[in-house]
Amino acid sequence: MTFQIILLVALLLASAAAILAKDLLKSAIALAVASLLLEIIFFQMGAPYAGVFEISVVAGLITVLFMLTIALTKQGDDIRESKTVKIIFPLFFIVFALIDFLVMRGILARIPALEAAAETGTFGDVLWKERSFDLVGQVAVILAGVFAVLALFRKRDHHD
């Protein structure tokens, strides 16, 4: 568990870096690092498929999309984030972490004991046979995304 906790702390730090970094490019890289850490956590939990997806799609594809957007919008004015936001951040975070810890400890006592039956079959069986409806949903959401991007980048020859 210690190793897990180290990973989780690193994940939080990478996310915080993604938010607080001044340069957007650095933010995007910190986000990719957070993805990598999440992927290692997934592997540790015995979820290689989710881990591979996380690394190839989130750390890879989404980071590329972010970089592309940053490059395309580079000529904009320099937006200065307010300084106080960064100064009070640790304070807020410590307060939140305390509350979080207390709430979770409170909840821990209230969670009833759960018996868990070990799963049979393979990942492929579960995804293709048990959750086939999700695949329809995936097709639908991909269609939605593709049409959304096509619509937003269409040529505006007819628009007034």
Partner: protein, 102 residues
């Protein structure tokens, strides 16, 4: 198992807080969306660790895979909106988005 599940939930809540903090305080549109991404990572951590705690890791993995697919299509749409906004306003500053008030 439950103890460890709660540890994961604790950190996932931390990610949620980071994302919300970013949404509430930052001014750059891309930064705001990075906040959303961090919330998304927290959510996938919750999903997978829940499945892990229930010892149904395959099911949890298939949920996370679906979730990632949804996230990609959401990211593509959102970034397309952001690029268009930049073209319209020549700026990524949230403070310049003030056309709609009242």
């Amino acid at each position: 198992m439950i103890n460890e599940w709660v540890v994961y939930l604790l950190f996932a809540a931390g990610m949620f807080f980071l994302g919300l903090y970013c949404l509430l305080t930052m001014r750059n549109l891309i930064k705001l969306f990075i906040g959303i991404e961090i919330i998304g990572k927290g959510v996938s951590l919750v999903l997978l660790s829940t499945g892990w705690a229930r010892r149904s890791i395959y099911l949890a993995q298939s949920l996370v895979v679906t979730y990632i697919v949804i996230e990609v299509s959401l990211v593509a749409t959102a970034l397309a909106v952001i690029i268009n906004l930049y073209r319209a306003n020549q700026s990524l500053d949230i403070r310049k988005l003030t056309r709609l008030k009242g």
